[in-house]
Structures are given as C-alpha cells and as structure tokens.
Symmetry: C2
Subunit: 327 residues, 2 copies
Amino acid sequence: MEKKAQERTLMSYTPEIKVVDCTLRDGGLVNDFFFTDEFVKDLYQANIKAGVDYMEFGYKASKEMFDVEKFGKWKFCDDKDIRAVVGDNKTDMKISVMADVGRCDFKKDILNKKDSPVDLVRVATYINTIPAAVEMIEDCTKKGYETTVNIMAISKSNDVDIDAALELLCKSSVGTVYLVDSYGSLYPEQVRRLSEKYLEVADKYGKKVGIHAHNNQQLAFANTTEAIIKGVSYLDATVSGMGRGCGNCPSELLLGFLKNPKYSINPILKFIEQHIVPLRASGVIWGYDVPYLLTGLLNQHPKTAIQFMKEKREDYHNFYLELLDNF
Amino acid sequence: MEKKAQERTLMSYTPEIKVVDCTLRDGGLVNDFFFTDEFVKDLYQANIKAGVDYMEFGYKASKEMFDVEKFGKWKFCDDKDIRAVVGDNKTDMKISVMADVGRCDFKKDILNKKDSPVDLVRVATYINTIPAAVEMIEDCTKKGYETTVNIMAISKSNDVDIDAALELLCKSSVGTVYLVDSYGSLYPEQVRRLSEKYLEVADKYGKKVGIHAHNNQQLAFANTTEAIIKGVSYLDATVSGMGRGCGNCPSELLLGFLKNPKYSINPILKFIEQHIVPLRASGVIWGYDVPYLLTGLLNQHPKTAIQFMKEKREDYHNFYLELLDNF
C-alpha cells in the first residue's frame, strides 16, 4: 500500500502530481471533435514541452451507436489516428482515451496495450453503472492498460452511495478514482470534504485520486488547487479551459500554479496564440457565462444553458425562472 | 468589543455579512466613469432589490489633480450628482464613495454627513501612507461617516509591515479593514491565512474585516467565499465582475452563493440583460484573459496587461517574457 497523501502547501514540491490534458476530449464536446490535424499535432508537441503527463485524445465511442459522419475522428480515437500524430510516442508523456460506460464497444475497440499507442483508459460512469464500469476496468487492466474511473454527477448523489461506490471501485484493479464536478456546482469547501472522503478510501487500497472540475461558477481552478492541497494527484485541465459549456480548469492557470519545475506555461501560451485565438475567432464558443452559472448554482446538467447560448438568448432572468421549474 | 468571528460553513446564516457593490467605482476604471444616467439609476434600483447593503458610486477624486473634462462625474461623486439618483435614499441600502490617500481633497470635498447622501467613506491607502489614511479616517469619522480602509498591494508587503499596519488602523476610528488582492495574485490558501491575520487584530479592537478580490487567476469569487468561511463580513462585488483589467468578484456569483434570504440574484440578472450586454456590445472590455493571468501569476500591477489588451496584441508568450524582465 502506498503512503497516505499528506496535505500540501503552496511551496510543496509534489512529484506525484500528474497533469492530464483533456483539451481534445472535453473540448471536442464543443465542436463535435472537428479539430484540424495541425491543431492536434501542435497540441501534442505543446503538451510535451509543457511537461504535461497525459494527453487525452478523445473518446472511444461506439461506431454502432454514433454516426462517424457526424463527428470528427477524436470521438472514436482509432489507434491508427493516434499513431498518425504520436508515432510510437517515444516521449515522457502518456496517451489516454476516455470510454463511457454503455457508449463504447470496449471488448472489440480497445485492443491489447502492446498493439496500441494508448497507455491509459479512463472509464466514465454514473454511480448506478459501477458494476459495468468495473467490468470495463478489469478488461482494460487485463489488456495491459493503466486505468482511471470518473464517477460522474456525484453532486446529485448522497454520501452513502458515494461511499459504497468508492469501496467497489477501489477494490477493482483501477489505478485512480476521479472526483468529478459534472455540473460545476461544488464550492471549494465541498471539494475539500469530498477530496478527504475519496482519499481516505483510495489510501486504504493504494489508489490515487484525481479531480475533473467544471467552471460554471468560476471555481474550476480554485477547486483544483484545493484538491491538490488535500492530496489529490491527477489533475484534469484543458487549454484555455476548452470544454463543454463553460469548460474546465485552464491548463495555463494550473501550470502557472504548480511548483514542480518540470512544468512550463510557455508552450501553452504559444499554442493559445497559434490555435485558440483563431478557433475562438472562427465562432467556436465556450467559457464562463451567466447561463452556466445558473445551472451550476442550481446543480443541474448544463444542457439547458448550452441550448440557451446556441439560441443567442440574453433573457437571463427568464432562463433562471425556467430552471427553477426543473426541480 | 464585539464577538470573535466564527468559522462558517456553507449552511451558515450570516446576518453580519454586508455586500458592497463597487460596479461604478471599480468598473469606472474601465470606461473612465462615463456611465449613462440610466445605467446608474437602474443599478441603484437593482441593488436595492437584490438586497445589496452598500452601493459605491465612485471616487472622491481631487478636481485640482484630475481634469473633470476627461472623466465621467462618478470619478468625483459630487453630492448633488448622487442625490440626483438617490434623492434622500430612503432605503435600507447605504451609499459609499472611495477616497484615495493623496488623490483627494477630503477636507474640502467631503462635507458633513448631515449634509450628504453618503453613509460610508472608504479610504484606500498603500501600506506606506497609513498615517495619511488615519488622518482621513479620523476626519471622516468626525464628520459623521462610517469608514472602511483598503490596504492595497499587500501581496508585495511582508508580514511584519502588514501586522504593524493592522495595529495602527484598528486603533483608529475605522469600522472595517479590507483585505485587498490588488494584483489578483493571491491563492485561496493565502487568503485564508491573511483573513485569519486580519480577523485576529480586528477582533481585538472590535472591528470588521472586508475583502476586495481581483479575478486575474479566476479566483476572485473563490477567494471571497474562502474569506467568508473564515469570518470576513464586508464583501466587495461588481455586476458581471466589471472592474479594472480582469475585474472583480461578480455580484451574481456572490449573491447566488450567500444563503441569507435577504439577497436575490434576479434583479442583477435583469440588470445584466438591460445594461451589461449592451455595454459589452459597445466595445467596453473587461474580464479574465491570459495577460491578466500572467500579471497575477507574477504578482505584478495589471497596467502592462491592460496596455497589451488595448493594443490588441495576442503574442502572449512574448508578453510573458517581457513581464519576467520586470523583476
């Protein structure tokens, strides 16, 4: 069993920290994964230079469930497409993909690790599909992958269920369990409490804990730093916070904060100049705005806010009243 | 002496909390205080309906130092201009103005309270001008005003000097001492520590503590909630975070967070629809962006970032290298 995570301070040197870039995966939810090859190749190089530990290329979505014509290739992450970017990935940065319970054909689509450029499979599950998640985790472990698991939407779950889920997952072969703030509704105080809860079970079984935050209330970065202080090690971030709706913890904020000298903010700043500025200028929209604040505040799925933004509505007050009707 | 501030939780009911709207004052730094009369009148009404405790109308700047032609009237806050909006202000909301040490003619321009619609004078000082701040505080107290004091740029000061400043100020007649993150460089962990420091001295002398945060690292709201938990009571916010450079803690986030039923987010949402959306559309720019992150990260004054934005530069990487030269 590994050493129990210690609380950290701003000055702490924390070699066990792993930064996971999810720009293509969570950002792909903004543009249906239609990134240019140049964007992806330059992001790969920028992440390597920035000291990022894992780069997530996208989802392993089922081609039987999703129309490959309607999405870019990173929704499916064929090994050949990843290889076209990374070759044999002879770098210190590892490659990850995400697989959603019930939305992938993992038995068929996830090959053995020895035949794949992927290092880490990240399983995403709701709390009521944990047994299916465990099946996926065990399958991936057997195939030779590192695994993590995201328990989504826990802000809608009660503590008894979360405790049971943590026990089940930590008894599996999974390496890291993620604290996920799906709706961007959690305040730092809650993240500290939940981090302690996750770490307590994870420590018992020699597992790590990660955090994946959303920025509905401008708290994605703050919640990530608070989780770090408590001992959370795997940190999800995206360049300029690109991600569904209001997006995620921005890589440039996180890399600026981390004191491990292996991390550098410069390559990410260059990538923002080269790719994020034109992407935004082309009309791809994400980031904090009032509708996301309101769904976060009310602990609701952001889909209504995303729709509100799509319709270019600005009647925030009416929208708030509509959301109150969702209870 | 008042009761020592207790640490609070998310569920705490905190009647001693005071929300201070600084939209005109800090926001005025964005547009040189050229707000329309309708904007100001509607903001006044929105703040009243939202349960805001104090509304700050602007600065009491010296008309001998600053050209009245170059700024809107809220840089000077003549009592007659405030009265044109608030009449006799027969509401539960109090009126405040800010006066900078060395940039105002307080003896002449600040009348006796009985002749003024202003309730609270907020003195802003650097740590090396505390004696001048105390002189202003005593003058305003004698004239019948509530007073607060902002010690600015403390992220550049050492603890010994901050301790001495707190003692000096808390021995004055000031009501509230503000913890101010001028450069948006403080992390929640530091805000918690500084809140404890400020509260320890303030409690000893029966004073309150306030917080004024900037959003350079998307931490203005988080730093405010963390200060609340520690026992800080006076909370500065601006609608949509409008304020110099990257702006401040957004009122709509703060009012959503506070559990005191006197506060309501709805009137602010309506105000955003009516006035903030068109103000932004007219080209007035503020809010989080990469250059502000970089000055915040490096604990520097935001003026270089504001200039960068004005010049519509996008070479973030070069800018970062320029900032590193400022050490």
